[in-house]
Amino acid sequence: MPQVFHRSFNTLSRASVFGSLFILGFVAWAVNVFVNSSYATNQGVVREQPVPFSHEHHVTGLGIDCRYCHDAAEKSAQAGMPPTKTCMNCHQQIWTGSATLAPVRASFQTDQSLAWTRVHRLADFAYFNHSAHVNKGFGCSTCHGEVQKMPLAWQHGTLLMNWCLDCHRQPERFVRPRDEVYNMDWHPPADQEQQGRELVRKNGIRSLMNCSTCHH
């Protein structure tokens, strides 16, 4: 008796044909979501620190300039992490008794460095130079986000290659006047496109899209 399958199998078999397509599509979508997820990129992940240092308080509250602590940003590839001494410049006078600052004082007395947790970890094979960007008019907030609103620092961008390329393709969309670089509240003006093109010309900014700009 040749009838092997039940009626319903027709529907089933046709469904499975399309179903497989949907499954493939779903997998692709899921992978994409994962790659860009904060789990994979650490974007927006708030990091525990030995001392709960609040940029919000020090920048917005006290109006301290970025360069007071990250003093190498204009000179070097690294922006620089402040030595304990920098903290103590003020905290020898204020909050001298505060418990939260105990590790800082300890470090200063025992000469043992504080071990901060890195917030922005670029892959080892990608080279980023702060001075190159800062001196050409790319502001801190462009990459680091609104640090002045971060009680504990977190990573603003995805640090994925396309995140870098977005700006490298069209610097004019992100560049700002030199004197605005450290202004955390700067927002692109209405005519950014046109102003940007002007700045790109003035600061001799090149759209560097070749590999060895960042990989060597």
């Binding site: 040749p2 399958f5 027709n10 078999s13 790659v35 995805t158 396309n162 390329l165």
Partner: protein, 464 residues
């Protein structure tokens, strides 16, 4: 309708004479004999032994691959200057073998060569298995195989694409296209026979499995009509594809600047070589199987003879290719090309070069003699020689060209390590295992096409 059809003269004869189907068969016997191989014939001890041996080699393959992935391609003999070794040699060898099937099915179909019918199913299967083996190598010869997908175009967070000027990317497209098309060609051909097996099968499981594969084929005239049309179109598409695939493979070499690679003769001579090795492998497999499964009725001496002739013809083309290479080298006046040819002939790898010529050029000359074409054993031996010869050819092309290129300072030597051989043997095991499974579970010969060869298949019109 030719007069010949009216005459009641089974067996069926093709214009050329000797039969493509032995006398005394009708629809029922053809159907039953072939489907019996799969459905009723008990699994012989021979099959088990053969399969276990090949499967042992598959285990070796898996072990080698595991070691390769954890340690690196450094376990092979490759070096600078010889950056490609066994991996690419084997790749080209296998992919070449993988050309016979689709060629037989597609081109011979378009040429209305009836004798193809009884061997195409088998040749196509062999093609698929060979391509599967071939596919392993380009993948595993990479330094970081886990990034193989970077060769495929897909939107990614690096905003990077494959480098479409690289022949390796062409390879990816050519080989995967070839694999897919051959697979479809093979499967489409199988569908009606799946239906036959479904209807013949005595076990529930058999009926369900073959039933699913048959997709509910019921032999409706309308279906047959579209089926024929699709099959014809596929053949039409596959024919140029076959030619293109090995052309693209030859580009891997021809596009480079290397003496011995940088040559315009490569595409045609690679394609010929591919068909050559493909037919050789078909013979190597068909002759024993035909004997073991008693298929002499379906795969007749006629088939062997025709394949032997194709072998001879392509062999001559390949020989011409060698000749042109040598001629070009000396004619070009290019010192590097000239040195390469001399180095092939008297350099450290000279023995390989000469044995390749013996295998590929002298070997097939025996087929001028009818005796060799008609005697399965001798033909089998010749086909083996050709298989070896074609492997050597690829070895000479890949290794000998690389080991001495432009600057004498960086000249080097290459020899395969035990892992190179393990990998090669492993893929042979994989190939054979698949063949054994195929023999066991699928009809080796296209049943419905065999039916069409029977005289009863011809509709007798009353008022013709």
């Amino acid at each position: 309708m030719s007069a010949e059809v009216h005459a009641e003269t089974p067996p069926v004869r093709t214009p050329a004479g000797s039969p493509v189907l032995a006398p005394g068969h009708d629809f029922a016997t053809v159907t039953d004999k072939i489907s019996a191989l799969v459905l009723t014939r008990p699994t012989s001890r021979g099959w088990w032994i053969g399969f276990s041996l090949s499967f042992a080699l598959v285990m070796l393959l898996l072990y080698t691959i595991a070691y390769l992935l954890t340690t690196g391609v450094g376990i092979w003999g490759i070096n600078v200057p010889v950056g490609w070794g066994f991996a690419i040699v084997n790749f080209v060898w296998w992919i070449g073998i993988g050309h016979a099937g689709t060629l037989i099915s597609a081109i011979l179909l378009l040429l209305h060569q009836q004798w193809r019918t009884s061997i195409n199913r088998f040749a196509e299967a062999m093609t698929l298995f060979a391509v599967a083996c071939a596919g392993l190598f380009p993948l595993l010869h990479m330094g970081r195989p886990w990034y193989f997908y970077w060769l495929a175009p897909y939107p990614n967070s690096m905003q990077l694409w494959p480098q479409f000027r690289s022949p390796l990317v062409w390879d990816v497209f050519a080989v995967s296209t070839y694999l897919l098309v051959s697979l479809m060609f093979w499967y489409v051909g199988l569908v009606p026979d799946m239906a036959t097996l479904r209807d013949r099968s005595t076990s529930r499981l058999g009926r369900v499995v073959y039933g699913i594969l048959a997709m509910g084929w019921r032999g409706s005239a309308r279906h047959w009509y579209r089926y024929e049309s699709a099959y014809g179109l596929l053949a039409g598409l596959a024919a140029p594809l076959v030619v293109s695939v090995h052309t693209v493979v030859s580009f891997d070499f021809a596009v480079s600047v290397l003496p011995g690679w940088h040559s315009t003769v490569f595409p045609p001579y690679f394609v010929a070589g591919a068909i050559y090795s493909g037919f050789a492998m078909v013979l190597t497999l068909v002759i024993p199987i035909r004997a073991i499964y008693g298929l002499e009725d379906f795969i007749t001496s006629r088939h062997l003879q025709n394949m032997a002739k194709v072998l001879l013809a392509t062999g001559l083309i390949v020989a011409y290719g060698y000749l042109m290479e040598a001629f070009g080298a000396f004619y070009s006046g290019n010192p590097y090309e000239r040195y390469l040819q001399v180095n092939r002939m008297i350099g450290p790898y000279a023995p390989m070069y000469w044995s390749l010529l013996v295998c590929n050029v002298l070997g097939p000359q025996l087929l001028w003699f009818r005796a060799f074409r008609t005697n399965p054993v001798l033909l089998f031996l010749v086909s083996l020689v050709v298989n070896v010869g074609m492997w050597l050819e690829r070895y000479v092309i890949v290794v000998v060209s690389l080991h001495r290129d432009f600057l004498p300072s960086s000249w080097g030597m290459y020899s395969g390590t035990v892992w190179d051989w393990a990998m090669f043997a492993g893929t042979i095991g994989l190939f054979l295992s698949l063949v054994f499974l195929f023999l066991r579970f699928l009809p080796v010969i296209s049943i419905f096409e065999m039916r069409t060869l029977l005289p009863e298949a011809k509709v007798k019109e009353e008022h013709g």
